[in-house]
């Protein structure tokens, strides 16, 4: 009975892991990178240096918005934090149009001047791709990602049942033993960070739970907007009165709000009807200031600065959701914990990747004719190459494109993203036309070479190369270069291993044949 349960779970694990495994690999890899999305953005905007003070930045942003969009319906200001140095502003134009992307938003320095940085989506793209994908409607992408995450969750649970010796094999990682080594790698990466994998998969589903299961809200509220208003205190904007009245200084309001939250930093400010007597300022706590992702808010009258009361989402369910989203995104994490998150994410990426490879390694020995595998086997093999080596190359090329594309290129941010997918596609196609073993060696080496090229190209195209960064104590740039070198080393080492393995296999059959000849 027990064995048959384990067998059925193993079967389930094999297929639930495989079916959307390639998508899961991409989600894990880009999601892991997203733990450093602010840092990646800073690297991709080498023009921005130094740090910024939130209060000065808020005042600067108001100055900028007063000249650019004085009659806007609302302003949204994302303040700099310890990790970023710029203020992002976005406004809804007064004529009610949505406005084209790029025309209703700006990146500012702390004095409120728009910074002319190279146009890039930075680390934010990797973060968004991780659940919105690209080149497809966001809604579809989120459903697809949700299904993948659900498969992941079932794969983890069935994997626990399948794994015969979680405790006995806890420390077992044997190298150079073919299938056994792949199984060890898959097991160890899964078991060592099992709490992380369970947490990240479950909380990932929770982040979009109200989209996947809208019925709770639909049954209890007249519309999603009413739900938002009642639970999160997001009131619809009042009509403009037409009586002009300048906005009060935001700095004292920020201090009041921050004091109310026990000193926690302000993250966002939105102003509705700016410049009007009905103006309303909503200050939201920084998501990095506590584990719970949904920050407390404090509202003020924009014309007088009078406090209009705060709003803390109450109720156990909302609090639980908020903490789960916070746990998933890790915005609260300081440096040490952020690295732990990142390393656990790398472990998860390796777990998914090794699981995909294991599927082929396990079946290769059982193929009726290993020289001519059947279609399904070839498909999985090729998709593995495309997913693993292809995505890695794509991300490296994304960084390279950031440095190499001309700064004034039209729609530059989109071209950077296109180059990621072009590289990914190219590697995928390369993997299709080459013999599988050789394709692995070549594409892994290519990924390694692309990562290795990043620090070189960075040094050649900016004044913030490795040596210069060390001299100026710019540890973010130093760490980025080191990470690229580490990734390059890993991929080149992997390429070398595959080549070695192939050479060994190629020389094995003749030897066996020779031995047979001798014994006869």
């Amino acid at each position: 009975m027990k064995d048959s349960l384990r067998q059925s779970m193993a079967l389930f694990h094999t297929w639930s892991g495989l079916l959307l495994g390639w998508l899961l690999f991409a989600m894990f890899a880009t999601g892991t990178a997203a733990y450093f999305q602010d840092e990646i953005t800073r690297w991709m905007q080498p023009e921005v240096t130094g740090s910024a003070d939130p209060e000065t930045s808020a005042q600067g942003a108001v100055r900028y918005l007063n000249t650019v969009a004085p009659d806007a319906i609302s302003w949204y200001i994302t303040l700099p934090n310890g990790r970023s140095a710029t203020t992002q502003v976005y406004w809804q134009p007064g004529d009610g149009t949505r406005g084209k992307r790029g025309e209703t938003s700006a990146v500012l320095d702390q004095t409120g001047r728009a910074i002319t940085v190279r146009e890039t989506s930075g680390g934010f793209f990797l973060y968004r791709f991780h659940f919105d994908l690209h080149y497809m409607p966001v809604l579809w992408a989120r459903y697809l990602v949700g299904i993948a995450a659900m498969f992941m969750l079932t794969a983890i649970l069935s994997g626990i049942v399948t794994h015969k010796k979680i405790f006995a094999d806890f420390f077992m990682l044997r190298f150079g033993k073919g299938q056994r080594s792949w199984l060890d790698a898959h097991n160890v990466t899964a078991v060592i960070a099992l709490p992380f994998h369970l947490m990240i998969t479950f909380t990932g589903l929770v982040t979009l739970a109200s989209m996947y299961m809208p019925w709770g809200i639909a049954a209890n509220y007249a519309s999603p907007a009413v739900f938002q208003e009642q639970v999160f205190g997001r009131e619809p904007a009042a009509e403009r009165s037409g009586r002009a009245q300048p906005l009060v200084d935001l700095a004292p309001l920020m201090r009041t709000a921050s004091a109310e939250w026990g000193g926690k930093q302000v993250g966002y400010i939105s102003v509705t009807n700016p410049g009007d007597a009905t103006a309303r300022v909503l200050i939201t706590r920084s998501p990095g200031a506590a584990i719970a992702a949904r920050g407390e808010t404090a509202a003020f009258a924009g014309a007088t600065g009078k406090a209009l009361g705060g709003h803390t989402a109450t109720g156990a369910a909302v609090a639980t959701e908020s903490v789960m989203i916070g746990l998933h995104t890790g915005r609260f994490a300081q440096w040490g914990l952020r690295w732990l998150y990142f390393l656990s994410g790398i472990g998860g990426t390796i777990m998914v990747g090794s699981g995909l490879v294991l599927w082929t390694v396990k079946r290769r020995t059982r193929l009726p004719d290993p020289a001519r595998p059947h279609f399904g086997f070839r498909l999985v093999e090729r998709l593995n190459i495309a997913a693993i080596a292809g995505l890695a190359t794509g991300i490296a090329v994304y960084f390279l494109a950031n440095r190499l594309l001309p700064a004034d290129l039209a729609q530059r941010a989109d071209r950077e993203i296109d180059s990621l997918f072009l590289a990914w596609l190219a590697v995928g196609l390369w993997g299709m036309v080459r013999p599988a073993g050789r394709a692995w060696t070549e594409t892994l080496a290519l990924a390694g070479a692309c990562f290795a090229a990043v620090p070189v190209v960075n040094a050649l195209t900016t004044s913030r190369g490795f040596a210069a960064s060390i001299m100026s104590g710019d540890w973010l740039f130093v760490a980025f270069d080191l990470m690229m070198i580490a990734l390059a080393a890993c991929f080149l080492q992997a390429a070398g291993k595959v080549a070695q393995h192939r050479a060994k296999n190629a020389s094995a059959p003749p030897r066996r044949a020779a031995r047979k000849a001798v014994s006869q």
Binding site: R174, F196, I291, L337
Partner: protein, 93 residues
């Protein structure tokens, strides 16, 4: 720096647990460990893990401390596995 200390503690905990297991004893200690000693190692391992949690809970509070502790346990376990692998002399045995 608290992370370095806690990860070292977690690594020591996992090495203790490994030393309590027959299949790793030769690599870690060089010989088989008698059962009473092995039990002691097992207890010490779990105590170290508990101490590691208490340390983080005191410094960072129980909520944040627990999150950090889980990450540190993972890293400690990785280091322990790397150490065992190094001791066992790869690639095959």
């Amino acid at each position: 720096m608290i992370h370095a200390l806690a990860i070292a503690l977690a690594c020591a905990a996992f090495l203790m647990l490994a030393a309590s297991m027959k299949r790793h004893q030769r690599d870690l200690v060089g010989r088989a460990v008698p059962e009473p000693r092995a039990r002691l190692a097992r207890i010490a391992g779990w105590v170290f893990i508990a101490v590691c949690w208490s340390l983080e809970a005191v410094v960072l509070g129980p909520a944040l401390g627990t999150i950090v502790w889980i990450g540190e346990l993972s890293m400690g376990a990785w280091l322990a596995i790397a150490f065992i692998n190094w001791r066992s002399g790869r690639p095959t045995r």
